[in-house]
Structures are given as structure tokens and as C-alpha cells.
Amino acid sequence: MRSFSNTYIFVFSLIMVTIVAVLLSFVSTQLKPLQEMNVEIEKKQDVLRTVGRAENATEAADKNTYINEEFEQFITASYVVDFEGNMLEADAFEVMLNLPAEIRLAREERNYPVFVYSENDGPKKYVVPLQGKGLWGPIWGYIAFEEDMNTISGAVFDHKGETPGLGAEINTGWFQEPFTGKTIFNEAGEFVSIEVVKGGADPSHKHQVDAISGGTITSKGLEEMIIDCMTGYVAHFKELANN
């Protein structure tokens, strides 16, 4: 094989790296808007699924338009509160996109987004996003509450890379459906959250659901996520329930 001088090797590397850098940054800037839109559509779809909407998303000819229309139609309001329940001037959707960074702050300093759902001015439902840690990476979810600000009307969870068949089961129906009808405050009005119980929860218990066998750490992570994120809503929820 031919031998090459050091200068040649140096120039060759320099040109190669420059070409690659230009190519990659060009493609990245071109595709960025599309990628960000995908993430936004997914969040909107998850919020809608929590209140039992967007069920035809897979069949819709144009999924993005379908989700956007449903979101416009059914999510009638959204706002952000702080730990004490004061209204803040911020965009709820922006805060939700930023949730992974938000949960690193102390609970008292976070912003808490709320999405209000109602169909034809019927009863409202309040959807809040959650973010936490599973076994292998982030997990997140959404819980919708009835107007009593206590009863769960639906819950959706998802994960980045939990073990298939074990922790990954948190995004399946059998795990999520039992949350419906549970309450997060006890009779005395204290915040007790939802306990994820190993070895089977009593279905009539108001604050317990089944954990996943073999997915203990993911189940525990999910339980902590609900406590961690919901604590900040307690003040706001009590205020809403009293009005």
C-alpha cells in the first residue's frame, strides 16, 4: 500500500470532518421542526387518551391534524400554578415539554401545568402530567381527575426503556385501568396518593392498585412519581374543590 505523509493525513482528516459536520448540521436544522412537532403531537395525544379521547388516532388518515383538532376541541383551558396554588403566567404546554428539567427543582420551586377537558360544556376533567424515574430510564404519565379534584377518571403511563414484559407493562391497559375510580385524598382530606401494592391489591381499596410482578423497581418508581408530582397540586386541588 502507498504510504502517506503526515501533512496528507492531517489535511485528509480536516476535510473529512468539515464535510461531515456541515452535512449533519444541515440535515439536523432541516428536520428539527418535524421532529419537534412529533413530540408535541405525542404529548397532546397522551393528554387526550387520559380523558378517553383520541381513540381513533391509529386509523386517522392524517394523524397530526386529527390530534390537533381533538386537542383544540376538548382541551378548553390550560394554566400553570405554583406550589401554593397561585396562578402563574406561563404556557402550560411549554412547561409540560420542559417537565424532565422541572422535576429536578425543589417541589416548592416547580411550575405545575393543568389541562382542563370538557365536552360541550359538560363536566370538566383536570389532566396533570407526571415525570419520574423507572429502572432503566425516565417514566412519565398523565392523570385525569373528576370535578371533585379527588377521584381519578383515567391514567396513562409510558416509559423510555423499561424491561419488555416486566416494567414495560406500565403502558398497558391492565395496569392503567385499575387507577380509574381511585382517590388521592382520604376521608379526612389528607393527601395519601396511590399505593402500588405487590402481591395484589384489594380492588375495593380506594388508594391502592396492583404492582407488576417482576417489575418491582418500575412499580415503586411509578408510585414515587405520583407522590412527587402530585404533592405540588394539593394546595390548588383543595382550593378548586372548595369552590
Binding site: I9, V20, V27, N38, P164
Partner: protein
Amino acid sequence: MSTEKEPLLSPKNLKLLTEPLGKSNPITVQVLGICSALAVTVKLKPSIVLAISVMVVMAVSNVVISLLRKSIPPRIRIIVQLVVIATMVILVDQVLKAYAYDVSKQLSVFVGLIITNCIIMGRLEAFALANKPWASLLDGLGNAAGYAVILIIVAFFRELLGSGTLLDIQVIPQAFYNAGYVNNGMMILPPMALVVVGVIIWVQRSRRKDLIED
């Protein structure tokens, strides 16, 4: 090097395309690229997408390296190969994120890990550095197809037996479940992918005695 013009699909070139499907299959014979074969084959759809992605990365990097083969300084050739592969993988990843978001979420890290797929690096080093672009393209496509075939066979059995679906469509009728049939949860876990690959290797070697080592 011979100067006479060789037909584009001469028997020799065709062999580059077909041999990796059987006799020199990258997974079952050379035992390369096993880790992704274990990880993504729970469902058919991500397997097909990964197979296509690997095919694109492999074909393009093979051609690029082959075109540059006379100007790449041997001392930094491994780095050059890595840069070419990494660039292609990032492009594929970006395109998937923009146009096939759901699938890219299922594949998560595995698209990025195409970089470490030994088949690609192996073909660049063993073939593209010493051969013309057209032959390299065929070699890349052939090896990627050999990889794809195994991935899809494994995913077919794992999804069918593990979830009762194919491409997320229910194929095992409800009547079976009513009669007491249950999906095999083991098939979803990585060890069963290894067992399925093992069975494929067994079947292949029992049919082709020349592949059996002593």
C-alpha cells in the same frame, strides 16, 4: 487488475449478493451482529425497520469507502470507516425521528447502536477497502439482506408465539384463547431470541454439511 469490462451482474457479482443469504450468512455462520438480533426482534415491525436501516447504512458506507479507498491513509483507515458509518447512522436516526416517530421510539437506542454492528465495520475492512464501488455495493446489500432475513425470521416466531400477533395484527384467533391457549411470555424475553437463532443455525447446518466445523 483486468481491464476488460465485466457485466454488472456477472456470476461473480451475483455471488456477492446471494452468498451472505446462506453460505456466509453474517449472523448464523459468521456470528456477527447478534446483540441487535436479540434485542429488537420482539416485534416484526421494528425488526423490519432496523433491517432496512442497516441495509441503507451498509450499502452507502461500503460505496463511500470503496470510492475513497485509494486516498484513505491506511494509518487512520479505522477512524475514517467509523466516521462514515457514524454519519450514516445519525442521518438515518434523524430521518426516522422526523418521519417514523413511533418506530424510532420503539427502536430507541438500537438505531444509534448500528454504529457498533460488527457486520458493517467487518465488510468495510474486509471488502470495500479492496474492491470497486459496484462490487462493494452488492456486497453491502447482500450482507445486510443476510442479516435482515435472520432478523425477520426470529421476529416472526417471537411475535407470533409471544404476543399472538404479526405486525401488531391479531393472527391467533380468540377461540384458541377461549380453549385455554396462552401466549408464551418467555418468547418476549431476550434469551428466547438466542434459542431461536440457535434453532436456525441447527436447521441450516443439518442441511448444509459443509458448514459443520469438526
